[in-house]
Symmetry: C2
Amino acid sequence: MATIRDVATMAGVSVATVSHVLNDSRYVAPETKERVVAAIAELDYRRDGIARSLRRSETGTIGVIISDIKNPFFSDLYKGVEDTINGLGENQNLILCNTEEDADKERKYLDVIMEKRVDGLILAPAGGNEDYLQALVKRQFPVVFVDRSLSAVRADQVVVDNRQAARELVRHLLDRGHRRIAILKATLHADSIDRRVEGYEDALRAAGLAADPCLRVDSASDIDAAYRGGLAVLDLDPRPDAVFCTNNFMTLGMVRALDARGLSCPADIALVGFDDFPWADSFRPRITAVAQPSYEMGREAALLLHARLRKQRTGPPITVTLPTTMLVRDSSG
Amino acid sequence: MATIRDVATMAGVSVATVSHVLNDSRYVAPETKERVVAAIAELDYRRDGIARSLRRSETGTIGVIISDIKNPFFSDLYKGVEDTINGLGENQNLILCNTEEDADKERKYLDVIMEKRVDGLILAPAGGNEDYLQALVKRQFPVVFVDRSLSAVRADQVVVDNRQAARELVRHLLDRGHRRIAILKATLHADSIDRRVEGYEDALRAAGLAADPCLRVDSASDIDAAYRGGLAVLDLDPRPDAVFCTNNFMTLGMVRALDARGLSCPADIALVGFDDFPWADSFRPRITAVAQPSYEMGREAALLLHARLRKQRTGPPITVTLPTTMLVRDSSG
DNA sequence: GCCTCTTGAGTAATCGTTTACGTAATCGAT
DNA sequence: ATCGATTACGTAAACGATTACTCAAGAGGC
């Protein structure tokens, strides 16, 4: 690979001049510039981003750490980030890391991408690395939390009102006359999930019902586990007449469990879920759900981070709360 | 941020020694090492990956360029790559780029990630950058094609036998007695899609039928476009009694179109699709489909690339062909 | 004819590592 | 006492850019 020195030699100028035509950073006489440009083309020179980063202490890469890109919520969010960064005209790239809700994995990813000197970080924390992140933030390293926040760490964040949305969803079930409402809860160390449980309890309480611990089933956050959790919900005696799924994997597992038990929804049991699916309207059962603005969350996160990086915003961290959408379909009866 | 020099000073040794304890690259007396380690801890020193990359000319990042991470096929594939790289014990990170089938976007991404000096590239080409990629490969830059290949560019690749799989899928429709079989084709510049069309024609021909051009509807590769394409299929006169969808977005759009027209599947029209869905068993209609081993494709691509990077394999490019799985469900009648 | 400004471009330090060479010190063997 | 090996570590040159200084030459003012 040709270096800037090769270009300089070929064009009969100094490396400084080449650098300046490359970056348009000072006046270069037209004929000189032309020679440089010709040499660049001739040698098929591409500047070395690594050397450049070292010098400028800025890499043009951003770390995105989420739990699972296979979750449509996150892939949508990721697209939001990517499109927004591109739209801002930055030549930034994203390093994507999936933690699978594993704090150790998250920690390891944090270590290596910090070593790679990413310019900033967009993060849906798995929990368990509060100290590390706290240290980052204290060092003024640009971090934006998305979907989840960490009470111990004050940084920019973009979230939705999980509690309120869950409350609305469960109230809807109550309005439809359901009383024995189970909850299939994903066991994540995510405050978002905790808020959803609170919303569930709020709604029950408001209806004069107590949250019966027997009606709560915990499950790891993947479809297979949720399927087993779903079976457990259905095996409760007496069977609940409705179930609230705290995220989309729970919903998917629950639907599979219904199918496995030969039960139909909403006839045998009603169901509402947090998170919508891209194909929600085409397939049956049609799930009543709260849709999060996942793409916009990614977009907002990118904007927050960008503003920090460009120093367009300094000072205390801010929280962007985006609205959810309640989508009433068939599954709620 | 502390540098290696700071550490050296604090420990009272040279930078070389610090570097050597960092990399375990030569013997350092236990007491000396201890002082260095202490200084590292004291200063919370983290080595600068950028400087390191510059010196070693190796960045520990790999570019992954696909069309759309929201496509479950690609998110699964991505996970396969990521898990495999991690499993290999490399501290590699992945830069993920979504081209949305846009050659210009792909080109731009190629430019910036090559400038970032990624160590290698895993790519599902959108088409249109053959020359550029050809040049890369000629320069011995490690590239692995996945899902799609470019006839003009010989590089390592991992694919499935699209033609054979499509043939099997359509033969299945023929076996079920369907004769008027439409095809909803994604307009991608991807050889994989072309092979699927050929498989469709093969099957028809083998049954003594001609591929009627009227039965083919082309659509951009996203759900909304596929929905409109699906409506067009349904509006054919006479209506086809079956339809073959060339990828998962086509299937999703087709199902929505059926729903919009109040038609049911397979009663009114049968349907088979290329690509499976994670939730295929839980929701109705249950789609008969060919499942690609997307995760394994990512895994194989990662292995191929890794072997090149570690020079465990040199010489001519190889092609890994992975088997597909035919999943007969309800939608084929 | 001397001085100052402007124009255009070169010199060399610097970013933070890695690593090819060197070298001082210790030791056992002769 | 001298010598080669061995042990332990330091010196300084890369890696390929960016950029603060510097400077020569020509223009213009007096």
